[in-house]
Amino acid sequence: MSNTTPQHTPLYEQHLKAGGKMVDFAGWEMPINYGSQVKEHNQVRTDAGMFDVSHMVVVDFTGQDCKAFLQRLLANDVDKLKQQGKALYSCMLNEDAGIIDDLIVYYLADDFYRMVINAATRENDLAWINKQAAHFDLHINERDDLAMIAAQGPNAREKLLATLDDASATQVSALKPFFGVQIDTIFYARTGYTGEDGFEIVLPNEAVAALWNTLLAAGIEPTGLGARDTLRLEAGMSLYGTDMDTTTSPLVSALKWTVVLEPKERNFLGRSALEAEIKAKPTTKMVGLVLEGKGILRGHQIVVTKSGKGEITSGSYSPTLGVAIALARVPVDTGDHCHVEIRNKQIVARVLKPPFVRKGKSCL
């Protein structure tokens, strides 16, 4: 980061008031926790917690070529989005099929799509998007006027709905998973990054502190970025920059399900490199690991298998399961067990397909 002055979201004062331990995250001063990461993690798994995700970037696409452009830009196909408000998770690839970013795109109208991209990749993403959009008839609008709160957990939905007026509550409670709706100035989406039910709420910067206070009064507890990381890891969700980047394709990132190759005429960016990689057969894959011996799995630890070595991309202690878990990139024919090198010792780990935890329940 060349810019050494940390940026603050409109919820900065709320974080300090809640006792947030502030750390640098992609140039933003954000709460890593408000006292105990484990307690906050458990709060989301068993009740309801909220995250300030205002540092993430909302980008609106308007104009008649939106759909055609997004069909070119994204490896997943926005043609799947037939119902208003429906969301789609996708990778944005470079010409070599390396992942530039992962994102969510919402279909709001034929000439209006909303995208949410990562904070750390902002400049690079926007430069790429604008470059690719040169010959399309559309407007690209970075919505720095908007903030975002994610309210997550088995009771988050009910607790949020209780704070809304009747008309809004009716519309928001009707949302199915992976749908969003705009009500006046507030966009509610039933999406998240924790493996729990809940909402992501996008609203004007000047209104977000009041929403935070309302949700706090409704019993939705502040949750830091630390818990966000262990929650998403338990849910088996990849983190951009850690589990995938421009040197890895969706095929070796357990994200092949997000790539749509039919119809063949859809010439999305990265398609030919991806097809070549499929033809040549990838030599690695992404799996989940559960440590069977003692210790904690961490990023960059070496994985030893009969077919060669691999590497942990993200690892931690799972507060829900009480064991160490990880995502790892390993040889494609890795069996159901492997070893992980922890401080010069080889410890046995079980290999499985994530998630580790879904809706509060162990998947082991």
């Binding site: 484990v38 630390g226 003692k294 210790g295 904690i296 961490r298 202690y317 507060p319 401080r343």
Partner: protein, 130 residues
């Protein structure tokens, strides 16, 4: 948040505390300030009984949800007891850093080494500066 720094203990720059048991042995743990910095402790790799360490040797590892952090032996000596309770309840380091969250007891190689450590006041100044 106020950090608890008991008067009667000795301290190191790497945030261990040392209790002089007055019988040639010393009990060692990590300070309240250190556990606050680490966050929730989820795993402790303890040294084996009978291990011999020199002053400032790495003697174990304390892992929080955030990161792994080495635990240094502040003094030279032989391990005569380890806190096995930490195997099942590593969070004792957070809740009772000076009590049930102790880590090891050493038979000191040279009791005069205790004089090299900081007293509580010096340690308070040390962490105020950092």
């Amino acid at each position: 948040m106020s950090t608890n720094i008991p008067e009667e203990l000795l301290y190191t720059k790497s945030h261990e505390w040392v209790r002089d048991n007055k019988d040639g042995t010393a009990t060692i743990g990590i300070t309240d300030h250190a556990q606050e910095l680490l966050g929730d402790v989820v795993y402790v790799e303890l040294p084996e009984d009978g291990s011999v360490f020199g002053a400032e040797d790495p003697a174990g590892v304390i892992e929080s949800v955030k990161a792994a952090s080495d635990f240094y032996s502040p003094l030279g000596g032989e391990v005569i007891a380890v806190n096995e309770q930490l195997d099942d309840e590593p969070e004792l380091i957070n809740s009772e850093p000076y009590g049930d969250g102790w880590v090891v007891t050493l038979k000191l190689e040279n009791i005069d080494d205790l004089k090299e450590l900081m007293d509580a006041n010096t340690y308070i100044n040390e962490i105020a500066e950092s």
